[in-house]
């Protein structure tokens, strides 16, 4: 319900909206739908600029460096620890069943198919996604994005396309590195500290992990990269004014990217299984 009141001091009609919990729920739903629409439109415009105009190398290289090269240490450390932790956690159960030598297959298949891509993408969403949202948010509130437009340059073409390319092209490589470091970490802990026989550890790994498994993980990472770039840049572009607004944009960039990563992982998992069972009906291939 709304009613018009007249403020006694100014004699200007003031509209007062009475809100109920139902109004608020409705508003939240409306805002969420509008936000998804806005992100979809933003993504479509970005892809259209990607096709129309390839960014200059002088713009691309700093983005590639910031997103790819600077992320190498954090992704390498994360990957190594995932492998090591998996070995420690799984060893006890496998030892109780006398299957220690199978440890390699479990660690490595988990790494290349699921944990490597998802955790590498999560680390990047935290490191790169938040940073992109904060940088673009600051540019928005200090009118730098308006300045780009005023100079006849499309801000999406100049700011978003290079970041999207860097994320899509480099996150798969970072995923491969996370996989590799995880495999090494898991193998070192298993064979050197937990005394699992090295020959059988690698033998079972080779038996169980194939090129298609690695491909499945890398394929997912392309989508994760695109989601991180688009969600984070969108948050940055729509940042509210002030330090609080920029901080909120950075936080939302990570949270929404993380949700997108998990949702994409789920959807691609289903699609992959459908295709896999379609081609090889007698084999099991849960992604």
């Amino acid at each position: 319900m709304s009613s018009a009141h007249v403020s006694p001091s100014t004699q200007i009609p003031v509209l007062i909206l009475e809100t109920t919990p139902i109004h608020r729920v409705g508003q939240r739903v409306y805002d969420s739908v509008a936000e998804i629409g806005s992100l979809t439109e933003f993504s479509a415009i970005t892809v259209s600029w990607l096709v129309r105009r390839w960014p200059r190398w002088s713009v691309l290289i700093p983005s590639f460096y910031a997103i790819g090269v600077s992320s190498v240490p954090v992704v390498a450390v994360t990957g190594t620890f995932i492998g090591m932790v998996l070995a420690v956690q799984a060893h006890t159960q496998f030892a109780m069943m006398g299957l220690e030598t199978r440890l390699g297959s479990v660690i490595n298949i988990s790494l290349v198919k699921e944990l490597g891509p998802v955790l590498a993408a999560t680390m990047l969403a935290g490191r790169v996604g938040s940073s992109m949202a904060a940088e673009l948010g600051t540019m928005r509130v200090t009118e730098q994005i308006d300045a780009l437009s005023a100079l006849g340059t499309n801000p999406i073409s100049y700011l978003v396309v290079p970041r999207l390319l860097a994320c899509v092209l480099l996150i798969p490589l970072l995923t491969l590195m996370a996989d590799f470091m995880g495999v090494i970490g898991g193998a070192v802990v298993s064979t050197q500290f937990l005394r699992v026989d090295s020959y059988h550890y690698w033998y079972h790994s080779r038996q169980y992990v194939g090129g298609l498994d690695i491909f499945a993980g890398v394929l997912k990472s392309y989508f994760f990269g695109a989601a991180i770039a688009l969600v984070s840049c969108h948050r940055g572009f729509h940042s509210k004014a002030g330090a609080e607004g920029v901080g909120k944009a950075a936080t939302e960039a990570f949270v929404f990217s993380f949700i997108a990563i998990l949702a994409i992982d789920f959807v691609i998992g289903i699609l992959w299984n459908t295709v896999y069972y379609g081609i090889w009906p007698d084999t099991a291939g849960l992604l």
Partner: protein
């Protein structure tokens, strides 16, 4: 061409539930320097952004050189914007680029100069705004407020614009630097023959650079039928304006505003 270079016809602008501009008609002649004055929040910056197509009006038509901006495609709008220079309130220099790259930005993006020619143009523009050589390699964060404003002006002038838009060019500067920026606006007007639109609070800037002044008033304090433009004329006529609000603004007297604030305080206390 004798017609106005910029035309705003019956412009209204609304953000959410907030009306900022209402039925505004302003025509800017070629070569003239128009100062837009008014209290904070009356829509001066919005007006500038409408002129260059950074914002689209809720209602009304904006024309540049006879062309309706609403009818332009993205690439046509980008091409049109090259004919403008925009000095933003806080200069809006690109943090990640050096001073050289900031000034060279438009020239590079539109392939208008490269190599030695680019270096020469950037050096000339920085010299025109009175910046000493040696700053080219620095980042904007290493400069003072006045230097940043001058780099912003050099960047805006790099493309030899036909229309210069200045958004509060002297805000936050000391009186000496304010005078330097005013002189630079005058110099741009004389040497480049560019049309200028200056949004400002500073009456010194108005008296120094303006050919014509438009004073806007916040919509929140106007009645539904009142015009948002309180004054449109030469700067000399401001003091003699029949409208008390114009005279009070020019003299820097709170007047009516103080009474309104007192009334609001009383209303809250009651």
């Amino acid at each position: 061409m004798n017609g106005p270079i910029l035309e705003l016809n019956q412009i209204s602008m609304r953000f959410g539930r907030q009306n900022v501009l209402r039925n505004l008609t302003i025509h800017v002649k070629r070569g003239e320097t128009l100062c837009v004055i008014g209290e904070s929040g009356c829509g001066k910056t919005v007006l500038l952004k409408l002129m260059i197509g950074l914002l689209k009006p809720t209602r009304g038509v904006v024309k540049f050189d006879g062309q309706d901006l609403a009818g332009l495609k993205q690439h046509e709008l980008a091409k049109m914007r090259i004919r403008f220079g925009f000095l933003f309130q806080m200069a809006a220099l690109f943090d990640s680029l050096t001073i050289f790259d900031n000034v060279a930005f438009g020239l590079r993006e539109h392939n208008l100069a490269e190599g030695d020619a680019l270096t020469r143009i950037v050096a000339e523009r920085l010299q025109e705004v009175g910046l000493p050589p040696g700053l080219e390699g620095k980042k904007p964060a290493e400069l003072s407020g006045g230097q940043r404003k001058r780099v912003g002006l050099a960047r805006a002038l790099a493309l030899n614009p036909e229309v210069m838009l200045y958004d509060e060019p002297t805000t936050g500067l000391d009186p000496i630097m304010t005078d330097v920026i005013n002189e630079l606006i005058l110099q741009t007007q004389r040497t480049k023959k560019a049309t200028g639109i200056v949004v400002t609070h500073e009456m010194k800037t108005v008296t120094k650079v303006a050919d014509r002044v438009v004073m806007l008033y916040p919509l929140a304090r106007l009645g539904p039928q009142d015009s948002q433009i309180l004054y449109d004329g030469p700067p000399e006529g401001l003091e003699e304006s029949p409208d008390l609000r114009v005279r009070q603004f020019v003299r820097g007297e709170a007047g009516e505003r103080l009474r309104e604030l007192a009334q609001q305080r009383e209303a809250v206390t009651d």
